[in-house]
Structures are given as C-alpha cells and as structure tokens.
C-alpha cells in the first residue's frame, strides 16, 4: 500500500487551537497505523480565515481536509482509507 500523507497545519492559529497536540502524532499512533503515513508540519494553509476559524486545527490526509482535527478523527480517517 502506498504511504499516506498526513499534513498538519502548524500555522500559529492551528497550533494554538490544538495542532500543538498533533505534532507528535507519528509516535503516538496505534500500532496498526504506525508507519503508514508520512507526517509533515506545514505553515498556514489559509483554511482558517474569518468564518472557518472554528474549524481549526486543520489537517490534510492525502489532500482531504479534516476540520477540528483530533488524533481519533485522524486515526478513523486513516482506517477508512485502508478499507477502501
């Protein structure tokens, strides 16, 4: 299976609103998911302007945006990709 790309927005807004808890996610993943994604921290992706502020922190899994990202949401999305 091709490695997934997991991009974590580390812009100041996302960082403050929870991305700081996601930056170490590679090492915290459940064992069945570990190593399946390449994790990158990116500067602001511009998703948080005005109205969308409440959706931060944003991450992208294989290009697909996940709002209000938490480790659990990310793991679920990864599992869904595996099943596809």
């Amino acid at each position: 299976m091709k490695k997934m790309t997991l991009e974590i927005c580390s812009g100041t807004t996302c960082y403050m609103l929870g991305a700081n808890n996601l930056l170490n996610i590679e090492n915290e993943m459940p064992s069945e998911l570990r190593g399946l994604a390449e994790v990158r921290a990116l500067p602001c992706m511009g998703l948080c302007n005005d109205k969308e502020l409440s959706g931060a922190p944003y991450v992208k899994l294989n290009g697909k945006v996940i709002e209000k990202a938490t480790p659990e949401k990310i793991y679920d999305a990864m599992r869904a990709l595996i099943e596809e």
Binding site: G11, T12, M16
Partner: protein, 464 residues
C-alpha cells in the same frame, strides 16, 4: 493537554485581534458570542445561551475588566470597549489581583467530601468501617453509609475499599490553591480572597471549565503600538519549548507585530545572576545564615503574605524582568516595555516595578495568529545579544541555583554553599518556609519556584 474551554478562550483572542486590526472591534464585540454559538449550532454547556453568557465575560476580561466589576448586566461590550480604549494605563493589578471568577462559567462544584458510590457491595470484612478513625461509617441496609457529622474527610476509607467504591470528590480550584484563598461564600459562589491570593495561577490552569479569568492587557499593548508609541517586547526564556519554530523565528514574527524591539528576558537574567552571586557572597561573608531567591513573584507574594519573618532573607537583586526592562529603556529611551511570560504573578510584579504591560504566551500567540503571522514561515532573526544558556536556564527548576553556582565558581572559597530548592509551592510549603525562617532547616541558599519544574510549567504555558 488543552481542553475545550481553553480553545474557546484562544479562539476569542484570535477573533479579538483580527477585529482590532480591521478596526471593527467595537461593533464586532457584541456579535462574537452569537457568531460562535448560533441558534441552531451546538453548545458546550447546557445550551447556547449559557455559552454566550460565558463568552461575554471572557471578552470583558480580554478588555481588561474583571467580571466582578459588572454593575449593569445590560451594559454592552462596545461600551466597555470605549472605556478601555480611553484609559491611559491598564488597571493596576498590584492594588487588586489579576484573577477573577467568572460566575457564569463556574460549575459551582460541590464541596470536597467522601462519598459512597453504588459500587459498594456491603462486604462482610467492612474495611471502611474499621479503618475510619472517627467511627463515621456504619452499614445500613447492606450499604456503607457515612455520618457527615463525624466524617473529617481524611479519605482513609477510600484507600481500603476493595471495590474502589468510596471516592473523594474534589473542587479543582480549591485543591490547587496553595494558600486557601479560594472558597465559597454563603450563597455558594466561588470567591478569591484578595488578602490570601498570591496569583500563582494554579486555579486558572486547573479549572476544567476555565472559569477563572485573567485581566488582559492585550488591548493596551495593541493600542500603544497602533498609536505609534515605541514598545519593546521582552520574552521570557520559558517560551522555547512552547512554540512551533525556533526562538529566532519567533523574534521575527513578534517584530512583525510592530514592536520597536524584541529581546530575551534572559539578557536580564545574566545580570541577575552576577548580582545575586555577589549579594550572596557579601551576605555570607557578613555572617548571615540564609539567602533565598527573588525571581519567582508568586513565591515573593507567599513570603510577603504568609511568612513575613522570611522576608529579610529574600534576595534584593531585581528579577531578570526588571533588569531586562532597564536595558530596554537604556537602548530605547522613552519606550514602553512589555513582559511576555507564562506567569500570572508577573502581572503583579510588573505593576509594582514600573513594567508597562505584561502579556501571557497565549496572548502573544493570539496576537500573532490574529494578525496572520506564522512563526514557522518566518526567517530566523539574528539575535543581536543571544543570552547564555545559564541565563535561559532560569526558567527551569534549580536553574537559578545552577547559574549562581557557576558564577560563584569565580570566587575564592571563603564559605561553603549549601543550596536547597523547593520545586513547586503546595499547601504544606508555608510551614516548611516557617522552619527555614526559624533556622530549623539546613541550607544557606534556598531557591523556590512556585510551579513544579519551574516557569516552563507556568499556569499560562501553552503545553498545559
């Protein structure tokens, strides 16, 4: 790990700064609560109306008011804004305290006590009954039952029950407060006793509802910059592990906010170390038996309010913040100085020592986020005077001692250094300090840091 209520606070900061930069803050303030909690949206508490009420008080505190100052509930935030924007200087927190309880946000946790849960099996060994020193437990209808007229909340029964059926409920703010400053008034409202509060900020960081609010000076800082005043930011060393990106990138980011200059508070710590080592040497050679550190303001408040007999042993050396401000004023005559740190008590020390403003790390990041400035996208700034690592080490427990020990290495051994440290102020700390004051404990150099591990774990640090 930060929780939901912390994110609401931070999101409000970002919205606040965005609106200030757009020049629409006065009109937007009264809209935020509705925008964040629309009629058909989700609520974090019982309903959107409760959420909206709490948001209003959070915005009041961002404007620099304490929610206890509210006399007219119908007063709009726009009206508070107009008052805030007119004031010459922020409210002097040394005359009050920087913290207040947001009643609308407070859950009014029931007083701490021991309770029997339905897990009780009414077992025949009855360890709870036999371990209770006050005979407060009996078995009624096959269930362990506590007589609260006898129970002293010692919690012995909670440790012996094989079913973990007896638990002690807590009030997180009261439990976290080392001085007993938080209590409930006769009507059940949580209050902070100004006479006892040392502004350590434990309640602020431990309340799971984030119902303890800080008076912010963010608006005052942004206003000064906007009015073209010279404003210098002094950043405490504890920030290093808190941000995405390096200190050098952060400095570029902060200067983009319009500060005249950005400097490390650690620059002041170098001077503090040299003077503190000198002071210690002089005192020891003069035959004094103890010197204790002065750089943690919550500790100094604790001594002032609860162990005044120890005051004469507290070092007279100004803290790194105060000395950094001297350097800033020398280099930029007429400037205003802003201390940025992880500390609530620095707000008081700042007010007492002519520091114009104090911001938390969270507020600084809020200003950056609200202004669309990304730390990790910034070029690293060449620091004109990078602080030595000993000075940056002030932010960690035993860092002050280490710096002074290294400095003392330059002196001849005319006396023996016997360094002791208290790493984190707890309820029992006052009695330990009384023993130091009475000369009943060994050691001639006593470092006390209010926060366990030092300033890096301060109440306003972002990693919490």
């Amino acid at each position: 790990m930060a929780n939901g209520s912390v994110f609401v606070r931070r999101e409000l900061m970002i919205r606040f700064v965005r609106a200030f930069n757009n020049g629409t803050l006065e009109t937007d303030l009264d809209r935020f609560a509705v925008e964040m909690r629309p009629r058909l949206g989700q609520s974090s508490r019982c309903c959107i109306y409760h959420d909206r009420a709490v948001i209003k008080y959070r915005l009041m505190s961002l404007l620099g008011f304490s929610c206890e100052e509210e006399t007219d509930e119908a007063r709009t935030l726009a009206s508070y804004y107009r008052e805030a924007i007119e004031r010459e200087t922020p409210v002097n927190v040394a005359e009050t305290i920087p913290l207040s309880v947001c009643e609308a946000g407070c859950s009014g946790c029931p007083s701490a006590r021991v309770i029997v849960t339905p897990n009780c099996r009414g077992c025949l060994n009855r360890p709870c009954m036999y371990s209770c020193p006050k005979g407060a437990i009996s078995i009624v209808n096959q269930v362990s039952t506590i007589d609260y007229s006898k129970c002293i909340n010692c919690g012995k029964c909670t440790t012996v029950c094989p079913y973990h059926a007896i638990v002690k409920t807590t009030v997180p703010c009261e439990e976290a407060c080392p001085t007993g400053a938080i209590h409930k008034d006769p009507d059940g409202h949580t209050r902070i006793d100004m006479e006892k509060c040392i502004s350590c900020g434990n309640c602020f960081s431990k309340c799971p509802f984030s119902a303890i609010l800080e008076r912010s000076q963010m608006l005052d800082v942004m206003k000064a910059i906007k009015n073209g005043e010279k404003v210098v930011a002094m950043i405490a060393p504890a920030i290093e592990p808190q941000i995405a990106g390096s200190i050098e990138q952060l400095f570029t980011a902060v200067s983009k906010l319009g500060f005249t200059d950005v400097m490390e508070v650690a620059i002041g710590a170098e001077e503090t170390t040299a003077r503190e080592a000198e002071e210690f040497k002089e005192k020891m050679l003069a035959g004094e038996r103890l010197m204790t550190t002065s750089c943690c303001p919550a500790y100094v408040e604790l001594v002032r309010k609860f162990v005044p007999e120890l005051m004469k042993y507290v070092s007279h050396t100004p803290s790194p913040m105060v000395l950094a401000a001297e350097i800033a004023r020398k280099e930029h005559p007429g400037c205003k100085v802003v201390f940025v740190g992880p500390c609530v008590a620095k707000r008081i020390e700042g007010a007492r020592n002519n520091i114009d403003f104090v911001l938390s790390f969270e507020e600084l990041l809020g200003m950056l986020a609200g202004s669309g400035i990304d730390i990790i996208a910034c070029e690293p700034m060449k620091l004109p005077r990078a602080a030595i690592s000993d000075a940056r080490g002030f932010a960690k427990s035993s860092g002050v001692t280490q710096a002074v020990v290294n400095e003392l290495g330059n002196f001849k051994d005319d006396f023996k250094l016997d360094a002791k440290a208290i790493n984190g102020i707890e309820k029992k700390t006052i009695s330990i300090l009384k023993l130091y004051a009475a000369g009943k404990l060994p050691g001639n150099f006593l470092e006390v840091m209010c926060c366990p591990g030092g300033c890096v774990n301060g109440p306003c640090s972002l990693k919490k």
